[in-house]
């Protein structure tokens, strides 16, 4: 069950596109004079799995940040049918505190997201991602791959409806990548995914659509 809480600034809309979790129209983004995104349209249906591909600098990360609500477009509009608490986001940074342990990080996010049966859920995820044995170690002592696994635990902790993953296979070894594959397989169709990758073949079996940025 997705944890969902209302918060200041969150407006419940009469969603105009039944069945769509995310709709973007003519999205564009400029940083000063530099244009990083131009005229992107996308519709992501409930349960869909959209793969975003493109070369470096094509605006994949910017698009995903806009879709997650972390950046505002300078052109076009984006509409999300999910509340902030129903979204899971994995960016280039793991968004965990290096001086805290895995347990402390997940406990913090679990509290903020109001996750029911938080301890059980944290334990289950840590075990599934192979971090149970090191749960009381500080994240600073983790390898990059272990930190990425913890970041994936953080993303899935509150069982989000919309999952936005920016290069999720980065730093994962083959075992970690297979774990992520199994998670994607398990959640495919039940959750909605927006995934950017340089390796579209890896997520091809899960994809329901593809958006290529030039």
């Amino acid at each position: 069950m997705a944890a969902s809480r209302c918060s200041k600034g969150l407006v419940k809309r009469n969603w105009p596109y039944p069945g769509h979790v995310l709709t973007a129209s003519k999205l564009g983004k400029r940083y000063g004079e530099k244009r990083v995104l131009r005229g992107v349209d996308l519709e992501l249906a409930d349960g869909g799995f959209l793969v975003v591909t493109g070369p470096n600098g094509s605006g994949k990360t910017t698009l995903l940040r806009i879709c997650a609500g972390l950046a505002t477009p300078t052109e076009g509009t984006v509409e999300r049918a999910v509340a902030r608490g129903e979204l899971g986001y994995l960016g280039h940074e793991p968004l965990v505190y290096r001086e805290l342990t895995a347990l402390e990080n997940l406990d913090l996010y679990g509290r903020l997201y109001g996750v029911p049966e938080r301890r059980e859920r944290i334990g289950m995820l840590l075990e599934r991602f192979g971090l149970w044995e090191v749960r009381r170690d500080r994240v600073a002592s983790y390898s990059r791959g272990m930190t990425q696994r913890l970041a994936l635990c953080r993303v899935l902790l509150h069982d989000p409806r919309l999952i936005v993953l920016d290069e999720p296979y980065t730093a994962l070894d083959e075992a970690g990548a297979e774990l992520l594959d199994s998670q994607l397989e398990e959640l495919r169709g039940e959750r909605t995914f927006l995934v950017s990758t340089h390796d579209p073949a890896r997520v091809e079996p899960f994809a329901s659509g593809r958006l290529a940025l030039a």
Binding site: A3, S4, R5, C6, S7, K8, G9, L10, A68, G69, L70, A71, T72, A83, R84, G85, L87, Y89, G91, E93, L95, V96, Y97, R98, E99, L100, E104, L108, Y109, R111, L112, Y113, G114, R138, R154
Partner: protein, 212 residues
């Protein structure tokens, strides 16, 4: 209740981070102690109570600035602000929790600073303690808010003092007045009014500081 739970979780995180990293509090303690030692040897003869009260507030303000400058360092260095901003809690909870954690560090520094002041200079009366408590609230509320604004800029180390010190002038006026006046009531009321006004402004507008 949910809001307070969120504030509690975030403040606990900040205290835990400081307990592990020990970046802020030891620096504040050493700084405030060093300032009093320097003042003690730099001032000729026996300075008046009026003069040393001014030094006390200068020391407190700059010690606070040291803590405020470090308040958002974990979020900046580890880029965790995105994670906090995405969480469904009210974003002002981030400000309130950070203010409370900074307040805890400042109070800890003052627990050392006030006895040192009494040792080197003059007796610390009840009015000074009350003024310190009220000034701390304003310093932490405004300073944390400005710290969040400054941390996303390249000139953050310069920007925070430039933004904070002008806004801290009313605190200094109220605090020094309360420390030296025979009837400190109106100065304490002024400090309380400042705290209430700026706490409401910072609470209500923090959302815009952390949004792009």
């Amino acid at each position: 209740m949910t809001y307070l739970r969120d504030v509690g979780a975030l403040a606990r995180k900040d205290l835990l981070l400081e307990l592990r990293a020990r970046d802020t509090l030891p620096a504040m303690l050493l700084f405030v102690a060093a300032v009093f030692v320097v003042f003690h040897f730099a001032l000729p003869g026996t300075p008046s109570r009026l003069e040393t009260t001014g030094f006390l507030w200068v020391a407190i303000l700059f010690t606070a600035l040291l803590g405020l400058g470090r308040a958002f360092v974990p979020e900046r260095e580890q880029r965790t602000m995105d994670g906090l901003v995405l969480a469904p809690c009210d974003r002002s909870a981030i400000w309130l929790a950070k203010s409370l954690a900074t307040l805890a560090f400042l109070v800890a520094a003052e627990i050392v600073a006030l006895p040192l002041y009494a040792l080197f200079f003059h007796h610390v009366g009840g009015a000074i303690v009350l003024a310190v408590a009220l000034a701390d609230l304003g310093i932490c509320a405004v300073g944390t808010f400005l710290g969040a604004m400054a941390v996303v800029t390249r000139a953050r180390d310069l920007l925070l003092p430039l933004l904070f010190l002008p806004l801290a002038i009313p605190i200094v006026v109220g605090a020094v007045g309360a420390s030296v006046a025979h009837a400190p009531g109106k100065y304490l009321a002024f400090l309380a009014l400042y705290d209430a006004l700026f706490a409401v402004v910072c609470w209500g507008s923090f959302e815009f500081v952390v949004s792009e």
